[in-house]
């Protein structure tokens, strides 16, 4: 057996061990540890759920004696400040964009006083936004927990087996399936659609986000921008997008949870990913022309 074949087998083995370690505890917590309305029965379950991909990364490296090379733990701030800034700014822009897009989808005219009323007044809106920002800091361990698993371990391993776009797509689908038990109970996409539809939508959303997050990770050689993006996106999306979208007179989240989630979590990130791809292609073309 050649070295290449041995390496490939070892990579597959590592991926399998990683997936077992990342999926099993989360599926147990989500299936047994949540009620039918998707509420966690245990506080520790809800607190720890986003840490398991990181724990799986560490354990897989220890079990397979891989060591911690290519762990993407370096900050690499030098020359990468713009990507760090983007990791803050992009999720904020996406959240605002998601709200505007959803308001446009719902139609029926726009009245910002409805948004303010929904938020509980201007001061309460300011307090909620500040709370989101504070959660982005205190919840950093959670963003890191997921990204240290998916972007710093699974995707680079997949890249050893297939071309980068395919690796991102496959790891995005796996990331989406990791959320499956919660989505099946109505998390994010509601209960009015078949669980399979919700899970498929989540997989698409995860593939699209995976492109953006992997781009940030590969550009900086560090997992932190992706972790920052992830936690800022999680903290701000629901609050900002819902507050903006509520201004639309026809917006009713209870009635249209699935379509709203599709706009906010699938179509808008997709648009962002396409814009990034176009910019990158143009940059590459300009470089080639200069050369």
């Amino acid at each position: 057996m050649t070295n290449k074949e041995t390496d490939k087998k070892m990579t597959i083995k590592r991926i399998l061990i990683y997936l077992i370690l990342a999926f099993v505890p989360v599926y147990i917590i989500c299936i047994l540890g949540t009620d039918k309305d998707c509420n966690f029965k245990t506080v520790f379950g809800s607190l720890s759920i986003m840490w398991y991909p990181a724990i799986a990364n560490i354990l897989t490296r220890v079990i397979t004696r891989e060591g911690f090379e290519e762990s993407y733990l370096r900050i690499n701030m030098k020359g990468n400040r713009k990507y760090y800034l983007l990791s803050f700014a992009m999720p904020l822009l996406l959240s605002v964009g998601a709200g505007i897009a959803e308001a446009v989808r719902a139609g029926g005219g726009y009245d910002f006083s409805r948004s303010l009323e929904f938020a509980g007044g201007g001061k309460m809106l300011a307090a909620s936004l500040l709370m989101c920002a504070v959660v982005s800091i205190t919840g950093f361990d959670r963003g890191f927990g997921e990204e240290f698993g998916w972007r710093a371990y699974l995707t680079p391993k997949m890249e050893k087996l297939m071309p980068t776009p395919a690796a991102i797509t496959v790891s995005g689908i796996i990331w989406g399936l990791w959320h499956a038990p919660l989505i099946a109970k109505g998390y994010n996409f509601g209960t009015k659609v078949h669980p399979a539809v919700g899970i498929t939508a989540m997989c698409i959303s995860c593939v699209v986000l995976s492109f953006i997050l992997t781009w940030l990770t590969n550009k900086t050689g560090s997992v932190y921008p992706a972790a920052i993006f992830h936690i800022v996106y999680d903290a701000f999306l629901s609050v900002v997008a819902l507050v903006i979208a509520t201004g639309s007179k026809n917006f009713d989240y209870e009635r249209s949870a699935f379509s709203s989630a599709m706009v906010m979590m699938v179509f808008l990130p997709l648009a962002a990913a396409i814009i990034i791809a176009v910019i990158l292609m143009r940059q590459q073309k300009m470089k080639q022309q200069k050369a």
Binding site: F44, A127, L130, V134, T138
Partner: protein
Amino acid sequence: MYGLLYKDTIIMRKSLLPTLVGILPVQFMHFVGVLGEPDVEISNIYKMMSLFSIICTFYIIGMFQQGVFEPDERKKWAYYVTATEGGAKAQVGEKYILVYLASMSTVILCNCMNSIAIDVTGDKAVPMMGITFALFFVQMFLRAIDIPFMIAFGSKKGNLLHGAILVAGLFLLAAYLLFGDLSFFGNSMDGFWDRVFELMEVGNNVKVMIVLLSAALAVMPLYYLSYRLSCKLYLKGVDGYDK
């Protein structure tokens, strides 16, 4: 920078063990709720025990954080590390990262133990995550002020100076409480506590919430500014080292 972080982790191993030995028994105070059925009074005692355990943990970690500077306070090392590629920025930055990691680990540990206690004891244990996060920001704020002193004057002198400023501040506060205008507090101890409890009802008082959240948010930029200041002060502080 990561080499320095690794070096410090190895050096701090010896003080990490006593720190953990100090923290773990304190953390078990979260579980005091399993001892019996709570009435209102006992439930308050559980709350106090949980709060005490979290404060003690942050205090112990605070002492650990202040100890991370001492091993590197040698002129030879300081001049050597300044001449390396990362320079003073890497040396100082590594300390700031280590201090941040220690505080973040404390938050994770306290929240884990608290959430396990809630799951084990049912309603008897009290959620303390909010207080843990508040203490995290307080600790980061204190370190943002402490560290430049320790960098500029060495950890011993820096701590003394910082302590002296703190005591002077307390004297000023005491003087104000003795001779100043106390009408804001209601002019009586009862009025003072009524006012404090009123302010503590953060959920009902959006203004207080905005002020507290803004203060919390300001801590991280302050921590970064403190790092920049410490980088500038590093070589000046080296001249004052004993060895």
